[in-house]
Symmetry: C3
Subunit: 162 residues, 3 copies
């Protein structure tokens, strides 16, 4: 497998861990000294940092496990990434990807079955977030780990009262 | 072309065949003994099978040709896949990908032209389904064919009265 | 990096340039004699050309710089591509990809802060366009450049009064 694909699959595992709220799997993708930070777009090509950075795989694991809202009953999400640009220089890699997040809410089957005239998948799939992941990785013992991860959000994040 | 890319392109051809309702092209991607089955998510990491499995390329072709609703006038769809994880072991491959389906409905141009003040693409693009494809392939005479295909749907499928 | 990935990254740079309305970066991806044309879907597998073709990198740069609407305050877009099929024959390449365009509109933070009960990303992410990119590239001095680019739109484009 090419090194570029290996790098891309780190991100593929990252989004699955996020969507499953699996802090342990998520944390395992980062080095101990990794720095993860959300940035919010404030204008064309302008971003400002949001909140405090997370440090290391342990910090990521703690945040995913404790601070990400669990999916409601019937809920799922898909953090999808596309149009990756990957540059590899020896044991260092830089990855830039677009992301779009979908929130899924399944409808519950009525107790007396689906009504007449209804067909196909029942529920909603809504695009709710977007931006870019800008990520640096280091190859350690043949495995690519994230050392720096910037989540560049297109939209602001509400902090009530702030 | 790398084997991983070849495997990924099988899925790229699969979604095109689905979106074109091209049963023949779809069926050609599967072995004669392939097993295709839809599963519905019932909880975190839990799925249950839905309906009967399709067997082989002939079964897939028959189902696409006879049971998939044609697009309405002005209608299109896009089954998009992302964040592929591909493992190859000799002549066997395992592929896992996210999918999001978009239903497109073009607006018809009014007989007297588009009204003033309207611009851009006219119609709607709606995300309507999502989940994961979990797929096993076998390399036969140098070509990757699907032997097992699980469509893991996030949302239930309505069967009227059931 | 594989030639297929190089080709795919040309498209990744194309969508970034489009989303940033960066005519210069966009134009640099095309040869001087490139032909770019929008087509509109008129039926199953049927398209008809829309408007005049753009010619060459200079034509593309001019069009992006002068005719693409700037994003409104708080606005962004993501032209996302997926399910690439890439064929390379010596110094020629053919790329086919699905695209879905998202329009993003960030909400402005209220002067007295976000209200209680509001959380998460604030704004809207809407899928507004879709279709296929069908693209031919030529390798010149080791670099892939677009020589022909067809934007196959699923929906008609309104031209007021036309």
């Amino acid at each position: 497998m090419s090194e570029e694909r290996k790098v891309q699959e780190v991100l593929a595992r990252y989004v699955r861990a996020t969507d499953r709220r699996d802090g342990k799997a998520q944390g395992a993708l980062f080095t101990d000294d990794a720095v993860v930070r959300i940035h919010i777009k404030t204008g064309p090509d302008r971003y400002e940092p949001f909140g405090e950075p997370l440090i290391g795989g342990a910090g990521v694991e703690f945040a995913v496990t404790n601070f990400m809202s669990p999916h409601p009953e019937g809920g799922s999400s898909h953090h999808t990434t596309s149009d990756h640009i990957i540059e590899i220089d020896g044991d260092l890699a830089h990855l830039n990807a677009q992301f779009v997040v979908f929130a899924v809410q399944a409808s519950a089957r009525p107790a007396d079955g689906w009504p007449a005239g209804v067909s196909g998948a029942q529920g909603t799939v809504r695009s709710i977030e977007s931006g870019y992941y800008d990520t640096e990785l280091r190859r350690i013992d043949g495995e690519w780990k994230i050392v720096k991860h910037r989540v560049l959000m297109d939209m602001p994040i509400a902090v009530p009262g702030a």
